[in-house]
């Protein structure tokens, strides 16, 4: 019998509120060290924490998208410990009344759906960031007091693939709910799996892995841990409960510390923060501007006929998907092809985003509709792309100015077809004697004659009618 793998994952995510959770210092990444700080963040004696309402709103949104039951009456607790990253000697967190309980995230592994159950989600403050040197450690308190949510799964993940899928889905949900940036490389999302293996119903000895720098590395860390634990058990040795860290270079885990008798954090209710009662009204208000979640968007894209590979490209680029949300009433296939193709090429080339261009919503809508109705060809679109992006002119004006309006005039098209047919009677004869490819050659000549300005589908239809008459 093979070993059963059991994984539970703790994820910390920084909420992207403007200010910190208990102080009005700015909560942002990348500032000069120790500039976004004040007496509360530094734990000065006599200071009192002031709860940031925005944190509650963001956490409520996270609860909603993770299907968690919201705790209406909750409070904060003190987790006591001595460590230089937190001079108050306690972290304000939620131990007894986490804001969310019993939720799930649904994943899809090779077509099989599975609910990854979430035990709880609580709110807490981040500690200062430490950089360790040989002789000293350096502390930056910009991070101290940044609001975090910690999301804890039940031990219900049974492979590295499931773990990676769960984290990708979790990241996507929190990102789309505008709750967190979820940038693992900047530390705004931190994943800590605990891994055990067992041949019986009883769980094996748990090993926690910290310091993992990417979602795919979580998968690799779990794979490595499973192999390492198997080897130890096969040798007849006993596993120890440990905390290990992932080493990106060697793709292995390295021992950090052996847990002794378990931590004694002496949790007790935080006396400096009044208890919180979340009313239905407050919850409703917090959820008021919750954007549509990625799975709903995927459904719409699929219904519109966008290719699956393009659907995932759009979902992976939230800004792009948010942009498309404003145009759900027009041809989404054309709209997404433009955005993924020529428009994004234009933006990348110039290193700008749509908001930096002159492409207004009206203009984009008009453009897509014109392409949809075949009023302009792809060739013409490419010719006027720069004008669309760089001038205030609307599409019609651009077309008029350049003399590029597509010819939809039937009599004009008829005249052009007649000219092409009489000028190329040899090709017409080839067609009549059974060479069907000659029709394509004639169509090419027709488009050339019309200088790319005639509506290709109606022209083709007319050409075929004349050839076959």
């Amino acid at each position: 019998m093979d070993y059963k793998i059991t994984v539970g994952i703790e994820v910390h995510c920084e909420l992207k509120t403007k200010e910190k959770i208990f102080s009005p210092s700015l909560s942002c990444y990348g500032s000069m060290a120790n500039t976004n700080i004040n007496v509360i963040d530094l734990g000065y004696p006599g200071t009192l924490p002031l709860l940031n309402k925005e944190v509650l709103e963001y956490a409520i949104r996270a609860c909603k998208v993770l299907n968690l039951n919201i705790t209406h009456d909750m409070h904060f607790d003190r987790k006591n410990y001595f460590y230089a990253d937190n001079p108050k000697n306690f972290q304000i967190t939620q131990n007894e009344t986490p804001i969310g309980r019993d939720g799930y995230v649904e994943i899809d592994v090779d077509g099989v759906k599975k609910k990854i159950e979430i035990l709880e989600m609580h709110i807490e403050e981040d500690t200062s960031k430490s950089v360790h040197g040989e002789k000293s450690s350096l502390l930056d308190f910009n991070r101290a007091g940044v609001p975090l949510i910690e999301i804890v799964t039940k031990p219900c993940i049974n492979s590295s693939v499931e773990a990676v899928k769960y984290l990708e889905k979790l990241r996507e949900l929190l990102l789309y709910a505008n709750v967190s940036d979820c940038k693992i490389e900047e530390g705004s999302m931190r994943c800590e799996p605990n891994v055990s293996i067992s041949k019986t119903e009883k769980f094996g000895t748990k090993v926690e892995v910290k310091n993992i720098g990417s979602i795919s590395n979580v998968g690799e860390a779990i794979e490595y841990e499973v192999a390492r634990q198997k080897e130890i058990l096969e040798k007849g040795e006993v596993l120890k409960e440990q905390t290990r860290r992932f080493d990106d270079k060697t793709k292995t885990t390295i021992l950090m510390r052996v847990k002794e008798t378990g931590n004694d954090y002496r949790y007790f209710p935080e006396p400096d923060i009044p208890f919180v009662h979340l009313t239905d009204e407050f919850i409703e208000k917090s959820l008021h501007d919750l954007p549509r979640m990625p799975d709903d968007r995927r459904n719409d894209y699929e219904k519109a006929g966008i290719l699956p590979i393009n659907i995932e490209k759009i979902i992976a680029n939230k800004a792009l998907s948010d942009y498309l949300e404003r145009f759900l009433d027009i041809n989404l296939v054309i709209a997404s092809n433009l955005l993924l193709g020529d428009i994004s090429a234009y933006l990348n080339k110039n290193n700008i985003s749509i908001s930096d261009t002159k492409l207004t919503d009206d203009k984009f809508r008009d453009l897509v509709n014109k392409l949809d109705k075949k009023e302009i060809s792809n060739k013409i679109f490419k010719d006027i792309l720069n004008d669309i992006m760089e001038t205030d002119k609307n599409i019609n004006t651009i077309l008029d100015d350049k003399g590029l309006n597509l010819i939809n005039d039937d009599s004009l098209i008829d005249t052009l077809i007649d000219k092409v047919l009489s000028d190329n009677s040899d090709i017409v004869n080839q067609y009549k004697s059974g060479n069907e490819r000659s029709a394509k050659a004639l169509m090419g000549l027709l488009m050339k004659e019309g200088k790319g300005k005639i509506n290709p589908s109606s022209a083709n239809q007319k050409l075929m009618e004349k050839l076959n008459s």
Binding site: M32, T35, V131, H132, H277
Partner: protein, 93 residues
């Protein structure tokens, strides 16, 4: 009386060193203190929901008035390196 191990554990949590004489004193003193705390459990129908705070939902409080005088903030820091606060190396991480 608390056991010596219990007193030593409490001392460790508080990061204080105590000598043999103090150890015996705390074995007695802490017992008195813990007994007082235990009395709470003897209350009729005691449950944690009874815990209350004098006010609720104080998250609308004005957070603007907090001191943000950055020049004075780090005056108490014993050692700095650039903008960072320098502390003895932390090995437990």
């Amino acid at each position: 009386m608390l056991s010596k191990e219990e007193v030593m554990h409490v001392a460790h949590l508080a990061r204080i060193e105590i000598d043999e004489e103090e150890l015996e004193k705390y074995q007695r003193d802490l017992k008195i203190l813990f007994d007082e705390i235990d009395k709470i459990k003897d209350l009729d129908d005691f449950d944690e929901d009874r815990m209350f705070s004098p006010c609720e939902n104080a998250f609308d409080l004005d957070r603007r008035n907090v001191e943000v005088d950055k020049d004075n903030l780090l005056l108490n820091v014993p050692k700095k390196k650039g903008n960072f606060i320098e502390v003895p190396v932390m090995i437990n991480e």
